[in-house]
Structure formats: structure tokens, C-alpha cells
Assembly symmetry: C2
Homo-oligomer: 156 residues x 2
DNA sequence: AAAGATTGATGTGTCAATCTTA
DNA sequence: TAAGATTGACACATCAATCTTT
């Protein structure tokens, strides 16, 4: 492969730094929460959303909107979680929609796991980035997302 | 859930911005390379490493070291790629090790996909971050990785 | 036709167990 | 025992196809 097919040194270093960080960070967080609380990142995200709603009850498509997940991914995930007793599916008056209800077991799991998860995010992500870099880092992330959002809406 | 279990607004915004960026970016890149060249991100990473070696031939554990993947993940991935003709496994004089060889088809795939992939990384990641933020962004990533590296070595 | 949801197939990633050879 | 590698089981993610109701 000729060299000009690739990124410059500075570009390359930034891209690699981001990829490595990404891999280490999510590896660490997922391992931590899985080992200590038996929850995957996907479980965690669903439980957080449900626990933040007043009633502990949301429609599946509300969860899809909140998480930005595809509907099939949501369906599979909720089936697995229901099988494990973390959530319960309930029929509603409108047969098109299903209600997803946080079970006592699900609530207990998220209450147990949340404080530790917050600590991990602080210790391994927010603190290392540091106060001085925090806003600029966020702005960089937002700039990337903005380009991709534009791109997505173009495709539709 | 009481509020003090969670992050502050500023922390929360940064963490969410990072998560959203992450999801959009890899979703976009993977879709792009998959659709245009039939390669997953995992395929791509293996092919890049092999194509960068002089001989187009590496031992599996060298690939594991280069990518930082677990050996079982590497084994599964290489089996799938071998089944698709992108790489070939060859026995060596030392029966403990296996050689992974880039096939002509594998080389053709990475040569075809690389330029476009570089463009996508530039357009959707490096350019939006921008020259002024690039070094600081990289330093932030490195700072996060440093904490996690320390943490990992502590565990061993 | 469109929206909400499910399913099956396939590819991906992790863990634990196993095998072989040094 | 330890390193390199494989395997099987399971969870996760995506795509295409399907179903029901509006």
C-alpha cells in the first residue's frame, strides 16, 4: 500500500488515540458493570431510561426514540430482558403499542448499579479529560455529531 | 432515583455528547464500508495490518498484539475471514503457531476500500474536530487511555 | 401505504473450557 | 505450568422480511 492512501502522522495519531481510548473505556465500563452487577451496557441504558420516567413504564417506541436504537434491536433486547425478569411487557388498550414496565428486580438492579457506574465514568473519563479540556472536548464531539446528523438527514 | 446519583449537567452533557458522537461515527463508518466494499470494521482492521506487513503474512498472535484483541475474538474473526477467502491459514514449521496470509482477494478488498475509508475518517471526524482542537482532543484521549492502562496493569 | 413491533438469519464479541506443545 | 490457539455457548447488533392496525 502506498503511503498517500493513509492519514498524515498527526491525523493518524489523533484517530488512533481516539480508537484506543474508545476500546479501553467501553471495555472497562462494560466489564465493571457486568462483573459487579450482571448488567450489560444495553441493559443499563434501558433501565436508566425506565427508571427516569415517573411511572417506570414506557412504550417501546419511546425507548427507541430516547436511545436512538433501531426497533429490531430494541425488540430483541427487551425480549432478553423480559426473559431475565428485568422488565415486563404489558398489553395496552391500543393493540399496536406495547408497554414496557420496570419490574422490582429491574429497579433494584439499576439502583444498585447506578452510583458505581457514575463513579467509573468520572474516574476514567471526566477526570482524565479534566476541567480545562471538558468544554472543548464536548464541542469537538458535537461538531462531529453535527456533520453526521446532516449526513443522515440527507440520506432520508 | 435521586438526582445526586447522577452526573452534573456539565458532566452529563459531555458524556452524552461523547456517547452520541461515538454511536453516530461508527455507525456511519461501518455502514459505509460495509455497503460499498462488503467489509466490516473488524475485517478492515485485520486487512490493514496484514497489508502493512512486508510479506502480507503474520502470525495470529502478532495480529492480536497489533490490534489488542483477545485471542478468541481473533480466532473467530480469522475463521470467518478465511471462509470468505480474505485470508488463508497456513501451517508453519512450529505447530504451535499459525501463519495468517493475505490472499489476493483480501489484498484487492483493502486496496479498494482504503482510500474511501480515509476520506470518511477525514470528512466525518478529523475535519469537524478541526485543526485548532485536534491536538487537545488527542491529549484528552491519551489522558483517558493512560488512566485505563494503569488500571489494567493493576489488575494483572 | 405507513407506523409499531416481531422474527430469523447472520455477523460480531466475550467468557470459560479445552487442546497442544514447549 | 504457561503460551498460542480453538471451540461452544451466549449476548449483542443489523438487515430484510413479515405482521397488525390505522
Amino acid at each position: 500500500m502506498s503511503d498517500d492512501m493513509w492519514l498524515s502522522d498527526r491525523e493518524q495519531r489523533t484517530w488512533r488515540a481516539f480508537l484506543d481510548m474508545q476500546r479501553l473505556l467501553f471495555g472497562h465500563i462494560n466489564r465493571q458493570v457486568q462483573r459487579e452487577f450482571g448488567l450489560s451496557g444495553a441493559d443499563f441504558e434501558i433501565l436508566v431510561n425506565l427508571s427516569e420516567s415517573e411511572t417506570g413504564r414506557m412504550r417501546a417506541f419511546e425507548l427507541s426514540r430516547a436511545t436512538q436504537w433501531e426497533k429490531s434491536r430494541m425488540s430483541h433486547q427487551l425480549s432478553r430482558m423480559a426473559a431475565r425478569g428485568l422488565v415486563r411487557k404489558e398489553a395496552t388498550t391500543d393493540p399496536r403499542y406495547s408497554d414496557i414496565v420496570l419490574t422490582e428486580q429491574g429497579r433494584a438492579a439499576i439502583v444498585a448499579a447506578a452510583p458505581r457506574s457514575v463513579d467509573v465514568v468520572r474516574e476514567t473519563f471526566l477526570d482524565p479529560i479534566g476541567d480545562a479540556r471538558l468544554d472543548l472536548f464536548r464541542e469537538a464531539c458535537d461538531a462531529v455529531s453535527a456533520v453526521l446528523d446532516e449526513n443522515e438527514t440527507d440520506c432520508r
